[in-house]
């Protein structure tokens, strides 16, 4: 494990990703200091280009895009991260239970997992959201989490299947440890890299889904998030009027978040699956393998 963390830190990509995500989080956290004032207040004329006064220009309604960008990071990131965690929690529990208990439990849960997996998510989200009317950020979170856990469940299940008959699990079972304890104390820690991938991947997915829903107008129109900023910009024909700052700011926020998370996940992937490595990590891995082989040869 410690070598994995060392690998993580040495990777420039992961570090860059982490820096991006952390700075966005800090910006969201210190929004009242960075952009004081109400982001929904009218402070200028309609569609002013970026100036010293309004760093990112103004919207059609004369609101400051910079302050909306800073404040919008709060719900966007919070919902994205919370939803990602919820998706992972659901998927991990379903996968663990199905993989460990096997038999009829597994058959039922696996069937459910595969069935939810093939139902197209975004149309399902739109159906649920349009019957619910406009939905607040937390309702969006619930809807996304309930429809997108199967990816993680599948991965977790196959890993659990591989683990459940290993000696230490069999031993724990013989000692008489209860099932839930074996699952959460014995198996779960071994799935750490997988869960890491799952969390970051789910956050990415949640942010994509949240943006899509809010862009389509299902978000709360009074809240300031990156998704509703896009929706408002689209509705005020910012693109045709060439008010690029109005669309560009929220788009950049979302794209940066995606970039940072993708870079982190890329490295997680390489840790969990050394086969996929490339670049410096790959050559280190190959060197390590050569050394190991030589040691084996010497031992023989």
């Amino acid at each position: 494990m410690s070598s994995s963390f060392a690998l993580f830190w040495r990777q420039k990509k992961a570090l860059a990703g982490l820096v991006i995500i952390l700075s966005l989080c800090l910006m969201a956290l210190f929004a009242p200091l960075i952009a004081p004032g109400d982001p929904s207040a009218r402070v200028g004329r309609s569609h002013q280009a970026p100036t010293v006064e309004h760093y990112f220009g103004t919207t059609k309604m004369g609101r400051d895009v910079y302050s909306q960008f800073v404040w919008g990071a709060r719900p966007s990131l919070a919902v994205g991260f919370a939803t990602g965690l919820a998706i992972t929690a659901l998927g991990t529990v379903v996968g663990l239970v199905a993989g460990y208990f096997g038999g009829r439990t597994d058959a039922t849960l696996d069937l459910l997992t595969n069935a939810v997996l093939v139902i197209p998510n975004i149309p399902l989200l739109i159906l649920l959201a349009s019957f619910a009317g406009t939905v607040g950020p937390w309702a969006i979170m619930a809807i996304i989490a309930l429809t997108s856990w199967p990816w993680g469940a599948r991965m977790t299940r196959s890993q659990t299947l591989a683990l459940r008959n290993r000696e230490f699990i069999v031993a724990a079972r013989m000692v008489g440890e209860p099932g839930w304890r074996i699952i959460f104390v014995e198996i779960l820690p071994n799935l750490a890299p997988l869960i890491g991938i799952n969390i970051v991947g789910s956050i990415i997915y949640a942010i994509v889904a949240q943006t899509t829903l809010e862009y389509l107008g299902f978000g709360d129109p009074l809240s300031v998030t990156w998704g509703t900023m896009l929706y408002n910009a689209q509705n005020s024909s910012a693109i045709i009027l060439r008010a690029w700052w109005d669309i560009g700011a929220p788009a950049a926020g979302i794209a940066l978040t995606g970039l940072g998370l993708a870079l982190i996940n890329f490295t997680f992937d390489e840790i969990a699956n050394p086969q996929l490595r490339s670049g410096p990590a790959l050559s280190r891995w190959l060197r390590l393998n050569r050394l190991r082989r030589r040691e084996l040869g010497a031992a023989r």
């Binding site: 069935a115 975004i122 149309p123 159906l127 693109i239 794209a255 993708a262």
Partner: protein, 327 residues
């Protein structure tokens, strides 16, 4: 070729689930959607239309189970109800009009991205750790993480509005009459360029990463070593020996990604005002045209299931190992 009963059970459950969601959601939501729909019909609300909507959304005195049976029987007769926005057109008519455009868009984007993504993935795996790999592979991972909305808006802004290179909306020049002539096809092609370019980055990224990892494991197989030992050229080993087999996981992934592709096409069609299913879904959701939204979910579920079934069948044909184990 026979399918395993397990897979068939999965498809049945998924389809049943979609039907159940369609049936249950309008009945469980607070506030009846029926009144708003009838209000929207306005003067067009004949007693027959009102009756049809009431029956469909459960505002009648009948046991739930009986309503469900009626609903399923209706579906079996391709009765998806009547559109509220386009009354008296049926949902089947409204969706049928849009289906072709979305199919065209999605299939073109998939074929285009498959060619590029698979080649990029194969080359990256072949020269693993090389400069090409270290640039292209992280780039693909990033492409998967950027929402299609962002790419659509950026494409529209740069190619459509700033450079004015490509037409910015609809599927063909509205001044043209649809017909089997070169001008019309040219117009359809030009109007499809931006939507296809928008859908592609995500797909290329997915195909590239899947192809790369599956190619890496295939390259360790004995038959690849044998191909090299026989003195075959690099390209022959790469494409005829390794890439052919490495394609299989890409196919599986493609079927599973179809749902996400539909999600992307919804946004793309809205941004480019493309008259496909996505735009229909959007206008329906703005107009609270529930029957159309429901029909859409069923249609897209059916399409995803069909694609999965197709992949299962193709898999059995191209991979003898699957055929063996099924027999």
């Amino acid at each position: 070729m026979r399918l395993s009963p397990r897979r068939l059970a999965v498809y049945c459950v998924a389809f049943l689930f979609a039907i159940l969601v369609n049936f249950a959601v309008p009945r469980l939501m607070p506030g009846s959607p029926v009144d708003s729909m009838i209000a929207q019909l306005g003067p067009r609300a004949t007693p027959a239309a009102i009756e049809a909507i009431r029956a469909r959304f459960g505002a009648i005195e009948k046991p739930a189970l009986e309503q469900f049976v009626d609903y399923v029987v209706g579906l079996a007769h391709f009765d998806l109800g009547v559109s509220v926005k386009y009354y008296p057109q049926t949902v089947t008519e409204v969706l049928g009009r849009a289906l072709g455009w979305t199919a065209f868009l999605v299939v073109t984007a998939i074929v285009f991205s498959l060619c590029i993504g698979v080649s990029l993935g194969a080359i990256a795996a072949w020269r693993r750790g090389g400069r090409f790999d270290t640039i292209i592979t992280p780039f693909s991972v990033v492409m998967i993480a950027v929402p299609p909305v962002i790419i659509a808006l950026a494409t529209l802004f740069f190619f459509g509005v700033t450079l004015r290179l490509l037409p910015v909306g609809y599927a063909y020049d509205p001044n043209l009459d649809p017909g089997l002539n070169f001008t019309f096809f040219g117009s359809v092609f030009l109007h499809a360029v931006m939507p296809v370019l928008t859908l592609s980055p995500y797909l290329i990224g997915e195909f590239q990463t899947t192809m790369r990892s599956s190619m890496i494991s295939v390259l360790g197989e004995d038959y690849v070593t044998m191909g090299r030992a026989k003195g075959l050229t690099e390209t022959a080993v790469m494409f005829s020996y390794a890439a052919r087999n490495a394609m299989l996981p890409v196919m599986t992934n493609l079927a599973l990604m179809l749902g996400a592709v539909f999600g992307g096409s919804i946004v793309t069609e809205i941004v480019f005002n493309y008259p496909g299913l996505g735009l229909t879904l959007y206008t329906a959701s703005v107009a609270r045209d529930y029957p159309v939204i429901q029909g859409q979910l069923l249609l897209m579920t059916l399409a995803t299931l069909g694609a999965n079934l197709l992949v299962d069948i193709i898999y059995g044909i191209v991979d003898p190992r699957v055929r063996e184990s099924a027999a």
